[in-house]
């Protein structure tokens, strides 16, 4: 990667089919987040290419990748990444508004209801529990109907019970929407629920 001649990912070749669910596991510092950043078009690779739905992300500039992310990519993060200034509803509406969708509010309300939060749409993130915040994040991720969803340690900040609920909800929505899922975790039981498991070890990919 950039700067100090440090090679984080080495010779990774990976193909994920539409509708497939893939888990990427590995220890801390194995390069999971870097790989996720590249796959999702959040980062630029110094060498190699990433292609989603026939679009070469390397050929786009940051603004081009941003538009691409808005149309095709959804995210669920370990630390939820909700905007504290916006209510639950506004957080879910945000990606829809960015795409200029006219029925943003209806759609956002639908997905919030789907994750069981229709009673809390007007709450701000700080007024919600961790599990509730992650459900808002799920609703936001699916509301824009992405073709591929990236989840980065989605249960990392939650207790076991809450985390299990979130994962159930994630897979349920994934099945309903037919989304491709790329899940980064170090939790093997979570990884087991995916169709395919890949392990990163010292920057190299090992098929399990």
């Amino acid at each position: 990667m950039a700067g100090s001649e440090l090679e984080i990912l080495k010779g990774i070749t990976l193909e994920i089919k539409s509708g497939e669910s893939v888990a990427i596991i590995g220890a801390s510092g194995s390069g999971k987040s870097t790989l996720l950043g590249l796959l999702a078009g959040l980062d630029e690779a110094t060498a190699g290419s990433v292609t989603i739905n026939d679009t070469d992300l390397g050929a786009l500039d940051e603004d081009g990748r941003a538009l691409f992310r808005g149309q095709h990519v959804g995210f669920v993060f370990q630390s939820f990444q909700l905007l504290p200034a916006l209510t639950a509803l506004e957080n879910v509406m945000l990606p829809l508004e960015l795409q200029g969708q006219s029925k943003a509010q209806e759609q956002a309300e639908h997905y919030l209801q789907r994750v069981g939060l229709s009673a809390r749409t007007g709450h701000y993130p700080l007024q919600l529990s961790g599990g509730e915040q992650q459900r808002v994040a799920l609703a936001r991720a699916f509301a824009s109907k992405p073709s591929i969803l990236f989840a980065d340690e989605p249960t990392g900040n939650l207790d076991k019970t809450t985390g299990d609920h979130i994962i159930d909800l994630l897979f349920e929505l994934n099945r309903e929407e037919g989304t491709t899922l790329v899940l980064v975790t170090h939790d093997h039981s979570l990884a087991d629920r995916c169709q395919r498991r890949l392990r990163l070890d010292g920057g190299a990919l090992v098929q399990e």
Binding site: S33, L36, G37, A40, L42, D43, E62, D63, A66, L67, F68, R69, G70, Q71, V73, F75, F77, Q81, L82, L83, P84, A85, L86, E90, L94, P95, E97, L98, Q99, Y124, R140, S144, D152
Partner: protein, 824 residues
């Protein structure tokens, strides 16, 4: 997106840095527009005031009757007009009692500006008159009542006409300072002139046409008039106004402009600091929004529109504040204003808006603009460095903006450069010093207790950031000290100039034989007077052997003219020797000492020979020295001073000045009865007026100082806030590790107080330098060192920064560490 922008704005308000940003903008706009509106209204009022001294907007004077078609033209132009005629004449009561008087005949419209005053008994309570004396009536100077032994209702004769004494004439707006002229005043109606039969061709008279109206019409009229002037006809305009007050006001204006400029700098710094903190806190938000598909254009529009909205809000509130500041001032002092100040117009508020826009573009926008370039990868990796957040071009842009704003605002390069020099000194010296001292602190701290170790380690770890912070604190404190210093010396000087017992009456035409009895009379009444100065009238004839031109229709300039001299063995009090030497007492040499401006006008230097005509004798003298006078002192002042021996042979009268309280005015009645030949000139109204104006301006200066203090406080708050996040985060970790409240707060207090102390020290040094430059170049005052600001600057810096720092970080000990760590 606009809904999201306003929403975000509303919620971000809680973060604090938006509050500082808006407050800083509001203060900048408020102070700038307030000061601007204040000075323009005050100037407007003073211009009206100066028109008052003419009794009109423009005056034409001549020793011969002025053309009547000028009056007709002024009517066509929609101007008001009035006529006056002044001439010396004897006033009689019966056959034997008489006195020489200066008669002034005025038409009904007189005065067009200002007011004529009278009293119903000599030296009695002063009343404003709607018009001058009616036909057949006269008003007499108070002392004429004693001289002629008349009372109200008696009759007096001027020339061939007899008049009823209707009142005591007290003041005319245009009586001016030409009190050496004739005798006491007699006012009569203009239409009574023919009846007196006194005015004949060749009489020594002065005709005046007075005109007043809208300033544009007056300007047009004057332009039309000037080419038609013939020899001996002269236009007098307001520019020949009152030098005494205008000097004080010029300095006050310099001060206010300085204050305004400093407000802009302070507000600019506060805006920049707040915007930077806002931007740093928003990099994470932007990363989220970008990960959801927002382009950099969308981000720029989002933050740009937020900023514009904020700017608009702040500008409106700021203009209201500015309007409020000056309105409050004029409301508080309405009773004391000599004239009602006119409206300021929209210009001050336009200036405020431009200031706001410049602050937004040059201080707030650069850090926010970089948000657009923020990497979306921060959603995965929060520890990504914020690239180029302290770009050098931001500082350059800020400096340029500050310089241009200050210059535009003060229209004074010297003032701008003096402030910039102070700022540069603070920045340069301060950064090096702070860095060195903060590093040195580490060594001392090693052996100290744990609170100190913690605090000093903190100072050292963020060495560069802290040095920058110290510099910002120092700049704010420096500007406040600077303003405080200039304000104090200005007000002190004014008060020294016009103490409560400043002379407010002049006494002239004192015969040598009356000097001692008058001194005694004054002593008996416990009235302290200035020394008695001998006064001789003579004519300046030649310089370096060459005769000066003889022209009587120019007031100023190089020409032969009548002038009053005095003699003295010692340099008069308040006079300052600028060149040459004062003579040995008792010298018999033919020497003379000249006043600075007089010498300049006549083109005379030390060593030149100057010829005078005194009586019928020509005196050739050598210029021994040039003096500077204090014209505002209300003491007798003379252009020319000779050694006593030189003039001892000539007959002289004496003059002096003294202070008389309003309650002691009746003394004058008795006095003029005992000394009928002496002329007393009452200046108490004028002195009181000057004092009132100076008090008002002092109050304005204090008011402005308070507002600027608030702006300085904001910079300190913004500066402290800039580092609060990192400090709170570290303290939360320490708390989590079990550190006591006392240890954390103590550490923070030491950290901030140490920075405050350095900042205070630096600020004091830089303030002394800037004030020195300002006072000696811009304000034209004498520089006096001010040791008291040293402890003030250092203690204030330590206490205020220490307290603000601990206050801003207080949450770290009140909220659970987990909550604090999660939020950041």
């Amino acid at each position: 997106m606009s809904i999201t922008a306003t929403k975000m704005l509303a919620r971000d308000w809680r973060g604090g840095e938006l509050g500082v940003l808006v407050m800083a903008l509001v203060l900048a706009v408020g102070v700038v527009s307030g000061i601007s509106a204040f000075t323009s209204r005050l100037q407007n009022a003073l211009e009206q005031e100066s028109h008052r001294f003419l009794a009109a907007d423009v005056v034409v004077s001549s020793s011969r009757e002025l053309p009547a078609q000028w009056i007709e033209k002024s009517d066509v132009d929609g101007l008001q007009h009035a006529l006056t005629l002044q001439f010396p004449s004897m006033v009689y009561v019966g056959e034997d009692t008489m006195s020489l008087a200066s008669v002034k005949a005025v038409s009904e419209a007189y005065p067009l500006r200002g007011a004529l005053t009278y009293s119903t008994e000599p030296f009695g309570a002063v009343v404003s008159a709607d018009a001058g004396p009616r036909q057949g009536e006269v008003w007499l100077d108070s002392r004429l009542f004693a001289l002629l032994d008349v009372t109200i209702g008696d009759t007096v004769t001027v020339g061939e006409a007899t008049f009823v004494v209707a009142a005591a004439a007290r003041t005319e707006p245009d009586q001016g300072s030409s009190f050496y002229g004739y005798g006491p005043r007699v006012l009569m109606h203009y239409a009574d002139i023919p009846a007196t039969g006194v005015v004949q061709p060749g009489s020594r008279v002065e005709y005046r046409h007075l005109y007043a109206g809208a300033s544009a019409s007056i300007a047009d009229f004057t332009q039309w008039l000037e080419p038609q002037l013939q020899d001996g006809q002269r236009v007098i305009t307001v520019e020949e106004g009152q030098p005494g007050i205008s000097n004080a006001l010029d300095r006050a204006e310099s001060f206010l402009l300085l204050a305004g400029s400093l407000a802009v700098v302070l507000a600019g710094v506060a805006v920049a600091l707040a915007a930077r903190r806002f931007s740093e806190r928003h990099h994470n938000y932007v990363a989220i929004i970008k990960s959801l598909g927002a382009t950099s254009g969308t981000i720029n529009r989002l933050y740009g529109s937020s900023l514009l909205l904020l700017g608009l809000m702040a500008t409106v509130i700021g203009c209201l504040l500015g309007w409020g500041i000056q309105a409050l001032f004029f409301y508080l002092f309405a009773d004391q204003m000599p004239v009602q100040p006119g409206p300021s117009g929209v210009r001050p508020y336009a200036i405020g808006a431009v200031t706001s826009l410049t602050c937004l573009l040059c201080f707030a926008w650069p850090p926010l603009r970089r948000l657009g370039q923020s990497s979306p990868l921060r959603v995965l990796r929060r520890d990504l460095p914020l690239e180029g957040r302290r770009a050098i071009q931001d500082y350059a842009l800020g400096l340029l903006a500050i310089t241009l704003l200050m210059w535009w605002y003060s229209a004074d390069w010297k003032l701008t450069l003096a402030v910039l020099a102070g700022l540069a000194l603070t920045a340069g010296l301060g950064f090096c010093l702070a860095l060195t001292l903060l590093r040195g602190g580490r060594l001392v701290g090693m052996s100290a207790g744990s609170i100190w170790r913690l605090a000093l380690a903190g100072l050292q770890r963020r060495g560069t950031a802290n040095a920058l912070q110290v510099v910002i604190f120092a700049m704010a404190i420096m500007m406040l000290l600077m303003l405080l210093l200039v304000r104090t010396s200005l007000i002190d000087e004014w008060q020294a100039q016009l103490p409560d017992d400043a002379p407010n009456h002049f006494m002239i035409n004192i015969g040598p034989e009356d000097v001692q009895p008058i001194e005694q009379a004054l002593r008996l009444e416990n009235i302290t007077s200035e020394p008695f100065f001998p006064m001789i009238r003579g004519r300046i004839m030649s310089v370096q052997g060459a005769d000066l031109p003889i022209t009587d229709d120019v007031e100023e300039g190089r020409r032969q003219r009548e002038i009053n001299f005095t003699w003295s063995d010692t340099l008069p009090a308040d006079n300052k020797l600028l060149a040459g030497q004062w003579w040995e007492p008792g010298t018999e040499e033919a020497l003379v000492s000249l006043e600075e401006e007089f010498a300049e006008r006549m083109g005379i230097e030390v060593g030149d020979t100057v010829g005078f005509l005194v009586g019928s004798q020509v005196l050739e003298t050598r210029v021994a020295s040039i003096r500077q006078l204090d014209w505002q002192s209300m003491r007798p002042n003379f252009f020319l001073v000779f050694p006593p021996r030189l003039l001892a042979a000539y007959p002289a009268t004496f003059m002096t000045s003294f202070h008389l309280d309003a309650t002691e005015k009746s003394f004058l009645n008795r006095f003029v009865r005992n000394f009928p030949t002496v002329t007393v000139i009452e200046m108490d109204v004028v002195v009181e007026q000057i004092r009132t104006i100076i008090n008002q301006v002092s109050a304005a200066i204090n008011l402005v100082l308070i507002v600027i203090l608030a702006a300085g406080g904001l910079v300190l708050v913004a500066g402290v806030q800039a580092s609060v996040d990192a400090r709170v985060h570290e303290s939360a970790i320490l708390r989590a590790l079990g550190a006591q409240r006392r240890l954390i707060l103590g550490g923070l207090l030491i950290e901030f107080a140490t920075m405050g102390m350095f900042a205070g020290l630096l600020a004091t040094v830089a303030a002394e330098l800037s004030v020195f430059i300002l006072q000696t170049t811009v304000m034209e005052m004498d520089y006096t060192p001010t040791p008291w600001i040293w402890p003030l600057g250092i203690v204030a810096g330590t206490v205020i920064i220490g307290a603000l720092g601990v206050f801003s970080c207080r949450r770290v000990v009140s909220a659970p560490p987990v909550e604090v760590l999660r939020e950041l």
